[in-house]
Symmetry: C2
Subunit: 305 residues, 2 copies
């Protein structure tokens, strides 16, 4: 692992989070803020997310030695898609969650119909952000690049990606060809992994990185995406409910298939550590511009929420 | 109105419907047809729709004197978006419909969660079709044109379009600045009008029509979009339940705001006729290549389902 002793991750995360929030606000500013649809979208979009996906996208752009501001349209589109997926996942027909980050979920605060439509509108608007240049972005990827970003995002979020992952997650486990561990990995690779990989990839694509660099970054992303999920399962057992905004141990109560439940808590910790080491290894030939990516990889398994 | 005595609309509609169905099948053929998500998407997509939107798109391309095959990607994307909107509109939290075109709605046939996800996947995939060239389309609009199509569709289907129209439709009417008729027109202009206009526009844009032509076609589309809705309200009173696949008089039973309820049945018929005449008037300087558009305008108020 390369030395990044001078890199202050907390400062980096805070600064980038602020930037993303600022641009997300600009995107929805032109719309009448008293409309219920806009209020519902805003409620979920501004609920205090970590903005991990857009930050990964900016860090990837930076690791390619380019201006990360060029990745901002992709960053915002990605966070908008992520927010839509949370709203729909929380619905009564899905995970039926009342709280998200300590706040009422969209359908609890508004109504089920409004939450469905707010999710639909967010998903649709993500593609509008990418297809339609917004005047407040100082720099903007060219048409061909933006079309490529739409292709990446629509593939990662769709039938062979996030939506199928959620589908598998709500279906009960069918003992078959796959053992439970392989099945769990597949769910996560689709449900969260594809979008995390698309975040990293979109940052590199936004700044016109070459194919070899993109492939390396995608390998990095595949590993941290899975590590993120393993760490989530561990946090659900060991985390502080106050900090997480939800109760600890809920997975166990819901008899949910998790890494600790299948391979044990200690093995899960080792596995998450190994994934992060592999991820950092994938980008070993990048110079110090990749310091944020390396630090984020470590942060993913050492965070407290 | 121009003479189109030699134009056989029924033959035209049948032929074009067949073409759209064929390409929609090709789009989803690569995916495992035994997956529940794919089955749910297919159930709604292949439920025997009129394919009015894609046919309008092709007819608009033709009216520009160009090869309508170039409009096929836009046609398919449009029908996929339309299908997603029907699935979500039918959900228990929305209109709570059990039947659609005589078949069980998606959430009745599968489950509510599956229907939400099938809608999400369809919406996402529409943008994948436009961003990612599919090998089976013989001709394909260039990158700039496809980006423009994504911009048109994401605007028409989103926060200032279809989703907002559905939002207004499920909210109860608030007596305020708008009278009931103006409010009803606004709902329809957003909920169905925007997507019908986008269909016509996308056909013209796909073949590279000039701005003046596009503006005329959009004016045509605005009128027939509203006429379509007025005709729907009339059919709900006078239509044959067998042919429509739903019971007549349901609007009245549900105390729904409709044109006949506000301005009366006779006035509604006159209004629909006037809208169609206006629509045909907008394209009066087009030659006989616009015969399909003229015939479709008349068909919209003379159909029986």
């Amino acid at each position: 692992m390369m030395n990044n002793i001078n890199f202050n991750l907390q400062h980096y995360l805070k600064e980038k989070r602020k930037l993303v929030n600022q641009y997300l606000k600009l995107i929805f500013q032109p719309y009448d803020q008293t409309r219920e649809l806009i209020m519902a979208m805003d409620h979920s979009l501004m609920a205090g997310g970590k903005r991990l996906r857009p930050i990964l996208s900016m860090a990837a752009a930076q690791a390619c030695g380019k201006d990360f501001l060029l990745a901002l349209p992709a960053c915002c589109a990605m966070e908008i898609i992520h927010t839509y997926s949370l709203i729909h996942d929380d619905l009564p027909a899905m995970d039926d969650d009342d709280l998200r980050r300590g706040l009422p979920t969209c359908h609890k605060k508004f109504s089920e119909a409004t939450a469905i439509l707010a999710g639909d509108a967010l998903l649709t608007h993500a593609f509008n952000v990418l297809s339609n240049p917004q005047p407040f972005f100082e720099i903007y990827p060219d048409n061909d690049t933006r079309l490529q970003l739409i292709s990446i995002f629509s593939a990662a979020a769709g039938i062979q990606g996030m939506v199928e992952g959620q589908m598998l997650d709500i279906q009960s486990y069918q003992p078959g060809q796959n053992n439970r561990l392989a099945h769990l990995k597949k769910i996560h690779a689709l449900k969260t992994g594809k979008l995390i990989t698309a975040s990293v990839e979109s940052g590199a694509v936004s700044v016109g990185a070459d194919l070899k660099t993109i492939v390396k970054l995608k390998c990095y992303a595949d590993q941290i995406g899975l590590a993120f999920q393993v760490a989530d399962d561990i946090l659900n057992i060991e985390g502080d409910p106050e900090i997480m905004g939800k109760s600890a141990g809920s997975d166990e109560q819901n008899d949910k298939m998790t890494f600790p439940a299948i391979i044990g808590l200690d093995e899960s910790k080792k596995y998450a550590k190994m994934l992060v080491e592999n991820a950092i290894d994938e980008i070993s030939n990048f110079d110090e511009t990749a310091a944020p990516l390396r630090a984020i990889a470590n942060y993913i398994i050492n965070r407290n929420h």
